[in-house]
């Protein structure tokens, strides 16, 4: 049995699989120092390590080349410091986004980062850089993160940033670790800038033919009503798509009326979101990205790429990230062909976030990317022995 002084370690079971790979042990550290102890032990014994939070995205990315030890952050669930007057929070990585939101709401504040999957933790949200509708106004996790504590492969504890919103001292490791899928370091703690909870929220909904989506999108983006989110839901590619706009904060009702007028009747204004709002569809998940407005013009291309293949589309089209989901019983070969077709028709990156092995085996999940040589070099410096989620990320990092 692996023993790490002071840290609970148990044998792994069939429930602990990571992309089909079964680790031997699961460690349950409770502090940054305990993570460091676990990492030192795994360095001493050359163990490959994968970190898991809520497990909501553990199936994203390629299966690890090897995995001896799972670090479960479930016991790192504390909100360490909520400095309400400074609109800043420091939190342990295993804290769920729901728990964090509840704590912050008590002081009338929030982390303006939408959570597309229930049960996600702070660490997992950062590691996969997930975001939701309000990325249009607030950006993604990297834009709200102001400080980070992480543990390197050799057990070194490293901090960057701090607990002030404005700070340019040193390199921003927080940005580097955000979206790195656990391949560079174990994220232990994070500090975020917060926003006051908006006084009011209004959702404005209208339907458009997908071929004409660019027009309302452009009007909305150029408008003066400060929409914080513009989402599209397109459940049936042979029909129209639904556009839903969120305005929040001061004078939300007046601005919502102005947005409704811009979208023209029969657009409606509601005080609550549609049921699909901000939720990632289940199953196979393809993410297409691009600059503002590009994706709106891409909708017809998605339909053409799909042909008679059954897919749905949803996401932050205006902000530059949308999700395409083939039906769960799709033939793997057809999914792979569709992905290839999408890549040839869309101008931006198309990533296969989640898919069964049979599909993933047929394609490159990530597609081409700039700077891969530099990324490899970063990986070599941070994790020379390839012990942190090896092989899970772009280019086999």
């Amino acid at each position: 049995m692996l023993t790490v002084p002071g840290v609970t370690v148990r044998e792994a079971t069939q429930d602990d699989l990571v992309g089909g790979v079964r680790p031997r042990w699961v460690a349950l550290p409770e502090t940054v120092e305990e993570i460091a102890a676990v990492m030192r032990a795994s360095a001493a014994h050359d163990l490959a390590v994968v970190t898991v939070g809520g497990g909501t995205k553990l199936h994203w990315g390629a299966p690890p080349e090897r995995c001896d030890l799972l670090i479960d952050t479930c016991c790192l669930g504390d909100v360490l410091e909520h400095a309400a007057g400074d609109l800043v929070v420091r939190v342990q990585a295993g804290t769920t986004m729901e728990t964090l939101a509840e704590t912050l709401a008590r002081e009338g504040q929030e982390l303006a980062l939408d959570v597309p999957l229930e049960g996600a933790t702070v660490g997992g949200t950062l590691a996969t850089a997930t975001a939701g509708p309000r990325r249009l106004r607030y950006g993604t996790a990297r834009d709200l993160l102001i400080g980070i504590t992480a543990v390197l492969a050799d057990g070194t504890i490293a901090h960057s940033g701090g607990r002030v919103v404005k700070n340019v001292a040193g390199y921003d490791l927080g940005k580097l670790f955000t979206g790195s899928y656990g391949t560079l370091a174990v994220i232990a703690e994070a500090t975020f800038r917060l926003h006051p909870l908006p006084a009011e929220r209004r959702w404005i909904t209208a339907e458009f033919p997908p071929d004409e989506l660019s027009f309302p999108m452009r009007d909305l983006l150029d408008s003066q009503h400060e929409p914080v989110a513009i989402e599209v839901d397109w459940p049936d590619l042979s029909g129209p798509c639904t556009v839903c706009v969120l305005v929040e904060g001061v004078a939300a009702e007046e601005r919502a009326t102005a947005v409704r007028d811009l979208l023209k009747p029969p657009a409606t204004v509601e005080a609550s979101p549609p049921p699909w709002w901000g939720r990632l569809p289940d199953g196979i998940l393809i993410e297409a990205r691009g600059p503002r407005l590009t994706l709106a013009a891409d909708l017809p291309h998605v339909r053409d790429a799909a042909g008679r293949f059954d897919v749905t589309l949803r996401g932050s089209v205006a902000a530059g990230a949308m999700h395409v989901t083939p039906a769960s019983d799709s033939d793997p070969g057809q999914v792979a062909a569709f992905l290839t077709e999408l890549r040839s028709r869309l101008s931006g990156p198309v990533v296969l976030l989640a898919a069964p092995d049979e599909v993933a085996a047929l394609v490159d999940r990530w597609g081409p990317t700039g700077g891969l040589t530099l990324m490899r070099r970063v990986k070599e410096r941070f994790d020379p022995d390839r012990r942190l989620s090896p092989g899970r990320f772009v280019g086999g990092l």
């Binding site: 070194t156 490293a158 340019v168 009503h225």
Partner: protein
């Protein structure tokens, strides 16, 4: 000498007049905005294309010569301080706006383009480039990227890093790499912004353009003392109002501004607060009432509202002139740049007061109050023996105060050569070593702007060999070895 060899080769790659070796002309590049650090560069080149930059960098690699990028040289931490044994690569001839893509709210520009030139190019279409350092008329966008520059309006809109969508970078190997915010993989773009020229040279920048707001209202509030202003700032933020900017000046800073530009701020003010609100008309009107109420409640004795562009400029004139203006009331001064959590502002300002008394040195306070970014101006007379040293001490102790209250040694001016010695006060040795792993990945030879940011360079060495042979677990097949 190797620099001579590079000069000769560079003349072949660039035009001869783009390569400067004349000592008199070299001296015009000897410092940036922090003028007490001066080094004449070994060689200056003025490339016009990314390929030329890459070719010069490859020459430097070949000869093992360090290189330093320079934009407009307005940096305030000595980041663009040249090396006498190195090459200074100046971007002032890379000034093209390559593409304006208004429908997609983007512009692609070369690094030598000034910050303001971007806004000027799109203003007539109702757009602007949001980060607005006070130096925006002259500073280059390449320098902004290197420093992750901010400005008064970053409170609501964020810093350079939040507005850069893509970069073309010449790596310290001399390769041209495209980094796009949308590409999968590590956020190298995010790591590059703010790296102060130590990870390579950016040769093309894609920035986000923002819609000019529908309404802008600027408010000037005068308080008896700085505490009243500070309370108002906290109350405004707590009320959920996010102004575009909240700036504060203390009595000494006001005095300097009056002497310099006669800004006509309310007589007898111990502090003035400038609050700017922008956005949709309905929202701004509502927030304005709220801010006005809060200022009165916290004891503002005079409130002025600017609605027109001229009135707004009048209010900002005093604030914008503040750095230069202290020259009117003091022969010399140090501009400090530190950050504290907003709630610690009263204690830190009291601490600065105590330092003034202890050292007999005056400090004028100007700050981006909304995000706790202080710019204390430490005044001294360089003709009085010892005063410069005392001012240096006060300036350093202000940073200690910031750190004691959980803040940072720099909010926007960067570390450069000036503050690398303070880095160990803010970060542990492990933290700094870890940051330098990024440096080693990009620049294992340590040629790109060496001696900046980090107090001691990390020797990168070879990449440790990837483990070969049988996995020990497999070899032993045993769990008990643990």
């Amino acid at each position: 000498m190797t620099v001579d060899a590079i000069a000769a080769a560079a003349r072949e790659i660039l035009t001869p007049e783009s390569v400067i070796t004349d000592p008199v002309r070299l001296r015009t590049y000897e410092c940036d905005g922090l003028t007490h650090y001066r080094v004449s560069p070994g060689l200056v080149v003025l490339p016009e294309t990314a390929e030329q930059v890459a070719a010069v960098v490859r020459l430097c690699v070949e000869h093992g010569v360090p290189f330093v990028a320079r934009g407009s040289g307005t940096g305030l931490s000595g980041g663009a301080l040249p090396r006498s044994d190195g090459v200074l690569i100046v971007t002032s001839r890379m000034r093209r706006i390559v593409e304006l893509d208004l429908p997609r709210h983007r512009a692609v520009v070369e690094p030598g383009v000034t910050n303001l030139a971007i806004t000027e190019a799109v203003r007539e279409h109702g757009f602007y480039y949001a980060p607005d350092p006070s130096s925006q008329q002259i500073c280059s966008i390449g320098g902004n990227v290197a420093e992750n520059s901010g400005g008064a309006h970053c409170l609501k809109y964020g810093f350079t890093v939040n507005h850069v969508l893509g970069l073309e970078v010449v790596t310290p190997d001399g390769e041209i790499v495209q980094l796009d915010a949308n590409d999968p993989g590590y956020d190298l773009l995010g790591a590059f912004v703010g790296s102060e020229g130590t990870l390579g040279i950016t040769t093309k920048i894609t920035v986000r353009l923002s819609r000019a707001p529908e309404t802008v209202i600027t408010l000037l509030a005068a308080f008896d003392d700085i505490e009243g202003g500070g309370r108002a700032v906290s109350a405004i933020i707590s009320a959920g109002v996010v102004p575009a900017a909240i700036e504060m000046m203390d009595a000494l800073a006001i005095q300097a501004a009056e002497a310099s530009v006669s800004c006509g701020y309310p007589e007898g003010a111990g502090a003035v607060l400038i609050v700017e609100l922008d956005g949709p008309h309905a929202a701004v009107a509502h927030q304005f009432t709220e801010v006005e109420r809060i200022c009165q409640q916290e004891g503002a004795f005079e409130l002025r509202q600017a609605a027109s562009a001229e009135e707004r400029a009048a209010i900002w004139r005093g604030r914008k002139s503040a750095f230069a203006a202290v020259g009117r009331i003091s022969p010399a001064y140090i501009v400090q740049d530190g950050v504290v959590p907003r709630t610690a502002l009263p204690q830190v300002l009291a601490g600065i007061d105590a330092l003034q008394d202890e050292y007999g040195i005056r400090v004028a306070n100007v700050f981006h109050a909304g995000d706790g970014n202080l710019h204390p101006l430490v005044l001294f007379d360089d003709a009085v023996p010892g005063e410069g040293e005392r001012a240096e001490l006060v300036s350093a102790r202000i940073l200690d105060l910031c750190l004691q209250h959980g803040g940072s040694i720099t909010g926007e001016h960067g570390v450069g050569v000036d503050k690398s010695r303070y880095m160990p006060k803010m970060f542990s040795e492990e933290d700094l070593d870890t940051m330098q792993l990024v440096r080693c990945a990009f620049d294992p030879r340590g040629l790109s702007n060496p001696g900046k940011v980090f107090p001691t360079p990390r020797l990168c060495g070879e990449v440790p060999g990837v483990r070969k042979g049988v996995h020990p677990l497999v070899e032993s097949g045993q769990a008990e070895q643990f």
